[in-house]
């Protein structure tokens, strides 16, 4: 796996809660982009087919007994524009796993970064048919 993440690479954040979508226009809320601690998990599109991306997401949702609603795609450049960084963090079952790091320590500043990322993120609903 390439250690460098190019600014035009797409990153996917899996949406495992319906509350992470705005009801009126199916855009993603900032909640999906708030890190639990110092890092936020994403999956790089690099070298994956659409099917591969969904298989990883379905596996993640299945592991926690959740429904996968879809994914929020965002370009790495939009993340870097918030003075954050993205680094590869391969894990078993997902060699494309990466983390968004360098979050500001203040929660309100984190929320502002997350709002800006959510503003440009593109929601892709999980296909109805089997992947």
């Amino acid at each position: 796996m390439n250690g460098f993440i190019a600014p035009d690479e797409l990153l996917a954040r899996y949406i495992t809660s319906s509350k992470w979508l705005h009801k009126q226009d199916q855009t993603v809320t900032q909640n999906a982009f708030i890190p639990p601690d110092s890092e936020l998990s994403v999956t790089r599109h690099l070298g994956l087919t659409e099917r591969d991306i969904w298989i990883i997401g379905i596996q993640i949702a299945t592991d926690i007994d959740r429904h996968l609603h879809g994914r929020a795609d965002v370009k790495t450049a939009h993340v870097i524009a918030q003075r954050l960084n993205v680094v590869p963090r391969p894990v078993v079952g997902n060699p494309n796993h990466a983390s968004i790091i360098d979050w500001p320590p203040e929660k309100d500043a984190r929320k502002m970064c997350a709002l800006e990322i959510a503003r440009v993120a593109h929601f892709v609903a999980k296909p109805e048919e089997e992947v």
């Binding site: 899996y14 495992t16 809660s17 509350k19 992470w20 705005h22 009801k23 009126q24 226009d25 855009t27 809320t29 900032q30 909640n31 708030i34 890190p35 639990p36 601690d37 936020l40 998990s41 993640i60 949702a61 592991d63 926690i64 959740r66 203040e106 929660k107 309100d108 500043a109 929320k111 502002m112 997350a114 709002l115 800006e116 959510a118 503003r119």
Partner: protein, 157 residues
């Protein structure tokens, strides 16, 4: 001689005390009816759903922290402090264990408030090209400034 307590207006005496008491109970009634309005609009039900849905480790498929009872309690108290007639928020959860209250009109007109486990409330807002963010203690209730920002998001074009 009985000393009557001074009212907010500074007047003392039986009648002033009676009026002050009446104002206080009216205010409490209004706050209660606003809380009831949030009940009617399903806000408190959403809060409990979020709590049930997100009260375990890793509920996001990653390292999400659970929503605690303390956070649920703070969110209820915070909502009870809202002035009458406020549009109800969308309720959500963040992976760091916070409950969120969000007023959303478009990706460029949105305010999100987080009630965090430490009892603090953090907010961030986008209103066109303007950005606002800050923090306050959630049990102090909603500030006039924050009500103003929410109004800017939910009102107008």
């Amino acid at each position: 001689m009985m000393i009557m307590p001074s009212t907010v207006s500074g007047y003392t005496g039986e009648i002033a005390g009676f009026v002050a008491k009446g104002i206080k109970s009216s205010r409490e009634l209004l706050q209660e009816s606003n809380a009831l309005s949030f009940v009617a609009k399903g806000t408190f039900r959403q809060l409990h759903e979020i709590f049930c849905d997100c009260s375990f480790d890793g509920w996001d498929g990653g390292k999400a922290k659970p929503i605690s009872e303390e956070v649920l309690h703070c969110a209820i108290e915070f909502l009870n402090s809202f002035p009458l007639g406020m549009k109800p928020p969308e309720v959500g959860a963040e992976p760091d264990g916070a409950i969120t209250l969000e007023w959303y009109r478009s990706p460029n007109k949105v305010i999100s408030i987080s009630i965090n486990p430490d009892g603090w409330m953090y907010y961030a807002a986008l209103i066109g090209t303007s950005k606002r963010h800050g923090a306050d203690f959630s049990l102090m209730g909603v500030s006039d400034d924050l009500v103003g920002i929410i109004s800017q998001v939910v009102e107008g074009g």
